[in-house]
């Protein structure tokens, strides 16, 4: 399947290159574009004596690493006729064993009328302000969007359909975007606290976590599916500002956990402003997940605010972010995570289409109100680690390019 896709894309790329020549002569509607981020990370201390890993997924370490943010994407768009176009995006992401390639999305778009476009296929799920283009670092100020909010929805794509309904009021545009579909082939990080318990889980709560937990710092992913994924994204704005709100609900299944068709809901609001050099971003989310699925995805809420100011080619910015428990029922297994972080960043424009970014982030994990580990989004609590500190500094550097 993967090979087939690669061949298909290979052929399309070759065909794109051929038509690029034709395009300059003045016909054909095929366009090829791409984006790239090359990034390095470093965390200033070990939080577990047994590993260099510092972030809970192990990608940010107490050594200089290049896997967390590095990625490259290629997008191909072709106009089939006046109303129909097709778009595909291939994404390769840095990982421990080289680069992993996947078709991030591929859809056909039908412009039914000037204000209405219908899209079908594999689409990016619009959960937050920048989730549409989350892989395109060039399009936002940070090296990575605040994780206290953006980590919260592991579903990044939707196989199904959406509608883009646009209403223009002078300089303002209202976008109404309902969608429906399923999510397949995605993986979610399982909280290390519940991994050892998996074989002992029975299908009816309240089973107890009697198993001996796996070693602290275990990183494991589970396959999951999301069915009847139904949601709406509403946004209003101009070139200067955007405010948005979104709601989605879905039925989650993860066979490794005996989780079958558990209801999950997701609510988010946010806004952004880019006015006379002033740059603002702020967002809030809450998620509620029922039944056994709550174990790996407990109820959480989170928020962040970013303020920056553009001085010519420089954009210094500061972000405060918080992740918290969201009235998690104690009868469920949920292991809510809690942390706050403050980030100081600088973006520098390297000419049109490229940017250099540096960031320093102080992460402070805490224990959630209804129990759960005191490690936040880290792999362990630094207060119990080799250096007995209540916070960790993460330094990052990245270059973002679009082409």
């Amino acid at each position: 399947m993967k090979k087939k896709l690669a061949c298909l894309v290979g052929a399309s790329l070759a065909c794109g290159a051929a038509t690029a020549v034709a395009a300059s002569a003045g016909d054909s509607g095929i366009s090829l574009s791409g984006f790239l981020t090359a990034g390095a990370t470093y965390a200033d201390q070990k939080v577990l004596s047994t590993t260099n890993a510092v972030s809970q997924d192990g990608n940010i370490e107490n050594t200089v690493g290049f896997t967390n943010d590095s990625r490259i994407g290629i997008q191909l768009s072709a106009k089939v006729n006046r109303e129909v176009s097709v778009t595909g995006q291939l994404l390769a992401r840095g990982s421990e064993d080289g680069f992993n390639m996947k078709a991030d999305w591929a859809f056909v778009s039908y412009r039914a009328a000037d204000p209405l476009t219908i899209r079908g296929g594999k689409l990016k799920l619009t959960t937050f302000l920048v989730s549409d283009y989350i892989e395109v670092g060039y399009a936002y100020p940070w090296i990575r969007p605040p994780q206290e909010v953006y980590y919260a929805n592991p579903i990044s794509t939707l196989s199904g359909a959406d509608a883009l309904v646009r209403f223009n009021f002078g300089d303002y545009t209202l976008l109404f975007q309902p969608y429906y579909g399923v999510s397949r082939g995605e993986q979610a990080l399982v909280p290390q606290e519940v991994i050892g318990a998996i074989p002992q889980i029975t299908f009816t709560p309240p089973a107890t976590l009697t198993a001996s937990p796996s070693p602290a710092g275990t990183v494991a992913y589970t396959d999951f599916t999301a069915d009847s994924l139904t949601g709406v994204n509403l946004s209003f704005g101009s070139d200067v500002f955007t405010v948005r709100a979104g709601y989605l609900q879905t039925l989650v299944s993860a066979s490794a956990f005996g989780v079958s068709q558990e209801k999950a809901t997701f609510t988010s609001v946010g806004g952004t402003l880019d006015w006379k050099g002033l740059v603002l971003y702020t967002e809030y989310f809450q998620r509620e997940i029922e039944g056994l699925a709550n174990m790996a995805f407990p109820n959480q809420k989170g928020a962040y605010a970013t303020i920056g100011y553009r001085f010519g080619k420089f954009l210094p910015h500061i972000t405060y972010a918080t992740l918290d428990d969201n009235d998690n029922p104690t009868t469920l297994f949920g292991q809510p995570l809690k942390q706050t972080s403050a980030t100081l960043g600088l973006r520098y424009e390297l000419g049109t289409g490229a940017a250099l970014k540096i960031e320093a982030q102080q992460v402070k994990p805490e224990a959630a109100n209804t129990g759960g580990p005191a490690r936040g989004l880290l792999i362990a609590n630094p207060a119990t680690g080799p250096e007995l500190s209540d916070n960790v500094m993460i330094y990052s550097l990245a270059v973002d390019v679009v082409f």
Binding site: S77, Y133, V136, V402
Partner: protein
């Protein structure tokens, strides 16, 4: 013989450079001569070039074409109609393009290339230096 030809070309280039400096003041937003639309406002042109609207006032599909970055006409058009710097425009299109919500106008080349394109595409809208205007295109708006 060859040398003479070369000199003639140089002379013509110098001459046309001279007139282009003289006439550079005006930029024309142009469409196909068959388009019945009588004109366009700068903010409507901006909406079409930013992908927010895909139609002329008369309901005909509007397909914008840009000149390539660096051309004098493009610089002027960015400043007076699009009102964004090239950096800002790149950021704007990155968001739309990579979220599958829109594609930037095709970049055709210079004034002559855009004129030829618009003259042969009934849905096209473009901008060219005023001195390139002739009967093959219809002027919708003049930016002095």
């Amino acid at each position: 013989m060859k040398k003479h030809k070369f000199l003639a070309v140089v002379a013509a280039t110098v001459l046309s450079l001279g007139t282009s400096i003289a006439a550079q003041a005006a930029l024309a937003i142009v469409a196909h001569p068959s388009n019945s639309v009588s004109g366009i406002r700068a903010d409507d042109a901006q909406r079409i070039f930013l992908g927010k609207s895909g139609e002329f006032a008369n309901g005909r599909r509007a397909v914008p074409v840009d000149q390539t970055p660096g051309s004098a006409s493009r610089t002027k058009f960015m400043k007076s109609v699009i009102q964004k710097s090239e950096d800002e425009l790149k950021g704007y299109w990155s968001k739309l393009m990579f979220s599958g919500k829109g594609q930037p106008p095709r970049e055709i080349g210079d004034d002559a290339a855009v004129k030829a394109w618009v003259a042969s595409n009934p849905e096209a809208i473009g901008y060219i230096d005023g001195k390139f205007v002739d009967g093959s295109v219809k002027v919708l708006f003049i930016i002095p």
